[in-house]
């Protein structure tokens, strides 16, 4: 009987963790594939207004972003506190918007160049003067499809 009593009784067999890396790798690949790295860091305050009648912006490759807002704390010394336009990674003047749109459009594949949308991510504190100037620039380069990006919510919250 000695043969059978060799094993100590009451000792739980260790759970094999050999497949744990596989599971984690699976998750890892999932997140690696769905990740879109932020291509530009925000240098302006960007609290968007609320709206309820919104449409989703599908297909990110067809969108050109324009940010508008007051420069964040670290840039305020240099650029002041008036709302500024941010294109990609730098501040820009209104008259640079047109050439920026043309440059971005040229980067896109041919078949997408006519279906591009310009997403205006504008801080709710900005004034319409700047937006009107941007809109005029967009009209000049024939980028007529715009999307005022907003959060989903009750539009009357904006007024408070």
């Amino acid at each position: 009987m000695a043969k059978f009593t060799k094993k100590k009784e009451g000792d739980l067999p260790a759970v094999s963790t050999a497949s744990l890396p596989d599971i984690v790798f699976m998750l890892l690949f999932f997140f690696m594939t769905v990740t879109t790295m932020k291509d530009s860091s925000l240098m302006v305050a960007n609290t968007l207004p609320n709206a309820s009648e919104i449409k989703k912006l599908e297909k990110k490759d067809r969108v050109i972003y324009i940010y508008v807002g007051t420069p964040t704390q670290e840039y305020q010394k240099v650029f002041g506190t008036e709302p500024k336009i941010q294109l990609n990674d730098k501040f820009a003047n209104v008259d640079e918007v047109g050439s920026f749109i043309l440059a971005e459009r040229a980067k896109k594949p041919q078949e997408l160049q006519n279906v591009l949308t310009t997403a205006l991510k504008v801080d709710k504190e900005a004034n319409m003067g700047l937006i009107t100037d941007i809109k005029q620039q967009l009209r000049e380069v024939n980028a007529l499809k715009v999307n005022y990006t907003t959060y989903e919510g009750d539009a009357f919250n904006n007024l408070q």
Binding site: M32, P49, K55, L159
Partner: protein, 201 residues
């Protein structure tokens, strides 16, 4: 000293730790967000060849001043009432050609929805948030009317049909079917929202 048999096994226990580290990095940097907002078309820069004569009664003027106050058809108005006023204007149907309109048929207001134009003006110092609220209410007025007609004709909201139609994951046979419905409702109340150049004074 006992002889070793073959190469020693490498301990793979820390593999999970390394993978977790990477996983957490990607978790943190991931932004699975789809932006949403109000879609608008800007007017083309070339003016039309000949001037189109539009009757004054077919234009619904909305002006926002720098303090965020509204002037609608020369009367002061609260933003809360704008949607209702715009809806009443759009479906007024003074000439009687619009069979689905439920408006008052007021002869001093719009002839029919295809002729009705909403004109939005704003000051340079108007706050963007106010502007978006007004835009939202005007688009909302169109959506309310379209929803009503879509409910009557197809038993489903226009906005849900449209978002389903625009969703790339909808199968194409469903999309083709929706396309006609969406188009039909859109033509009943075409969105004519003009944004004139801003007044500077």
């Amino acid at each position: 000293m006992p002889r070793r048999k073959g190469a020693p096994e490498v301990n793979a226990g820390s593999m999970a730790d390394i993978a977790f580290l990477l996983l957490i990095f990607f978790l943190v940097t991931t932004t699975i967000e789809t932006d949403a907002g109000l879609d608008r078309m800007l007017p083309p820069i070339e003016p039309p060849d000949q001037d189109v004569v539009i009757k004054q009664k077919n234009i619904f003027t909305v002006s926002i001043n720098r303090n965020g106050q509204l002037l609608v058809e020369d009367n002061l108005m609260e933003i809360e009432d704008l949607r209702e006023a715009a809806t009443a204007f759009l479906e007024n149907g003074a000439d009687g050609s619009c069979t689905y309109c439920k408006g008052k048929k007021d002869p001093s207001s719009s002839d029919n929805p295809t002729k009705a134009i909403i004109s939005l003006k704003n000051d340079r110092e108007t706050k963007y948030s106010t502007y978006i609220t007004v835009q939202n209410e005007l688009v909302g007025a169109y959506n309310d009317l379209r929803n009503r007609e879509a409910q009557r004709l197809f038993g489903s909201d226009f906005t849900t049909m449209e978002s389903k139609y625009l969703d790339p994951e909808t199968p194409s046979n469903v999309r083709d079917e929706l396309k006609d419905k969406v188009k039909r409702v859109q033509d009943m109340f075409p969105q004519k929202l003009s944004e004139a150049e801003t007044t500077t004074d």
